[in-house]
């Protein structure tokens, strides 16, 4: 009993730490990746006593992102404008980052791992209402941006805050509709079960991934997800050239870091959701609980440990791939205008989501009866 509780607690803590670390790595990747895309060098100055240079290792900006920046961020003055609401000013970054980390509780990162007589489900918490939990907790994040803009008592911040909340609620609809279609297809709200039902293959070779049932929902969820994370091309709330930094104009130090990490944690979350709903989550093509069964070649039996580890690796790979895709999108597309954003959300994505929903429902009912 105690061991079970300890395993549960360990999974929860590891999940949060993994997400925070991946978010930081993405920050580094975005710096060097954007430099690569724009044919620049990128962060390459900070070094610890020039150790890297003496050893002949090229400076990849690792010290900048992982040592210098955090040190600097957490030793800055905690600055709050005189006219601001001090309590809400502190609460806002908390409400921004906290829900994103908590949503990872229902994201499955692997199949069952069997240790002796103990079966460990590689998911922090298996909830029958996983999808509802996800949407409910994710909704809290809107308060972070809205309160941050309001509490600063700064015109730029206020504009950024209301823009951010308008944008996030608009795209949450498209996101909800896209996920409904997936829920219909798999007939469950439990994310682990959704992953399990994507196992197997049609005609012996085509993996039964969600993308094949729901290609439109995939595009909707990815678009709405990028909009939710308020990154280019959807970054009107913090568009530098018009709003300084939007709702976090008046933030410094760790609070600013919390807002920044929210962006990257949301990138990770969107990638994890896309992978879970449409790309089989931890499913590896042709890998079954007992081993590989390759079409036309034969089968290889594998122990449970190898299968579980392969699943976790596959999930990690899919998440990293979609993170990379989102960073590529961010550095490739220009920023939308505010009215274009609303147009896309309400007049394109929402109707498309409803059409997709109707089509899915009709097909499922027709097949079932």
């Amino acid at each position: 009993m105690l061991t079970d509780l300890l395993i549960d607690a360990a999974k929860a803590i590891v999940a949060v730490l993994l997400v925070l670390n991946l978010a930081t790595v993405l920050l580094w990747f975005e710096r060097k990746g954007s430099a690569l895309i724009q044919d620049r060098v990128g962060a390459n100055r900070a070094a610890i006593f020039g150790i890297g240079r003496r050893l002949g290792v090229p400076n990849l900006g690792v010290t900048n992102t992982f040592v210098a920046d955090p040190l600097k961020m957490f030793t800055k003055e905690d600055f709050v404008p005189d006219q601001a609401d001090r309590f809400l000013h502190t609460l806002a970054p908390f409400l921004s980052l906290f829900p994103v980390l908590v949503t990872f509780a229902v994201v499955p990162f692997g199949d069952r791992l069997i240790v002796g007589s103990r079966v460990i489900d590689l998911q922090v918490c298996q909830l029958d209402v996983g999808v509802l939990y996800l949407l409910a907790v994710l909704g809290i994040g809107i308060y972070g941006a809205a309160l941050g803009g309001w509490a600063s008592n700064n015109r730029w911040a206020l504009l950024g805050g209301v823009r951010a909340s308008a944008q996030m609620i608009s795209y949450e609809l498209a996101m909800g509709l896209a996920i409904i279609a997936v829920v219909m297809t798999f007939g469950t709200l439990d994310l682990q079960e959704i992953c399990r039902r994507q196992g197997g293959a049609w005609f012996g070779w085509l993996p039964k991934w969600g993308i094949i049932y729901q290609p439109l929902a995939f595009l909707l969820l990815l678009t709405a997800g990028i909009a939710e994370s308020k990154r280019i091309p959807f970054d009107m709330p913090e568009g530098e050239s018009e709003l300084i930094a939007g709702y976090f104009t008046e933030y410094s130090g760790g609070k600013q870091a919390a807002f920044m990490l929210t962006d990257f944690a949301e990138v990770v979350l969107v990638s994890a959701l896309v992978a879970t709903f449409f790309f089989g989550g931890w499913q590896v093509p042709y890998l079954y609980p007992e081993g590989f069964r390759l079409p036309g070649i034969g089968s290889v039996l594998l122990p449970n440990l190898v299968v579980a580890v392969l699943g976790v690796l596959a999930f990690g790979l899919k998440v990293v791939f979609f993170c990379w895709l989102q960073i590529l999108v961010r550095w490739t597309l220009p920023r939308f205008r505010y009215d274009q954003l609303m147009y896309l959300g309400w007049k394109i994505l929402l109707p498309l989501g409803l059409i997709n929903l109707a089509a899915t429902a009709v097909v499922i009912v027709a097949v079932a009866s």
Binding site: D8, A12, I13, F74, F98, F104, N153, I169, W346, L357
Partner: protein, 117 residues
């Protein structure tokens, strides 16, 4: 109860990490307030009064529209899970429900509720 234990752990741990992040500067950072530093940033100009004033009503309209459609989405979830059990009757019922709200959306769009000023 045991089902929700990991959720409690993740909430507690995330709250601890984020709380530490948000409050670290109080302890680690310097504290040198000055009247100029305390001003709201308006590109170097003296701030033109409090920002807690009126702003465009469009945002309020969007919030109201969101409420309507988000409740629609939430109400569709139970049906989505049990769609195979409800069959054609459920499909028709949900269709009527969505159609009524579609009329509302078309009305709102036609009246320009989502257009910029």
């Amino acid at each position: 109860m045991a089902t929700w234990f990991p959720i409690a752990v993740i909430i507690g741990f995330a709250a601890f990490v984020v709380g530490a992040m948000v409050s670290a500067n109080r302890i680690l950072g310097p504290r040198r307030p000055s009247p100029v530093k305390g001003q709201a940033f308006e590109c170097g100009n003296p701030p033109s009064g409090s920002a807690w004033a009126r702003f465009s009503v469009r945002f309020y309209l969007i919030a109201i529209l969101f409420l309507v459609f988000d409740v629609e989405v939430v109400l569709l979830y139970p049906w989505a899970v049990a769609i195979r059990r409800f069959g054609t009757v459920g499909l028709v019922d949900a269709g009527i429900f969505v159609a009524v709200l579609m009329v509302a959306l078309i009305y709102a769009v036609r009246r320009g509720a989502l257009d910029p000023d």
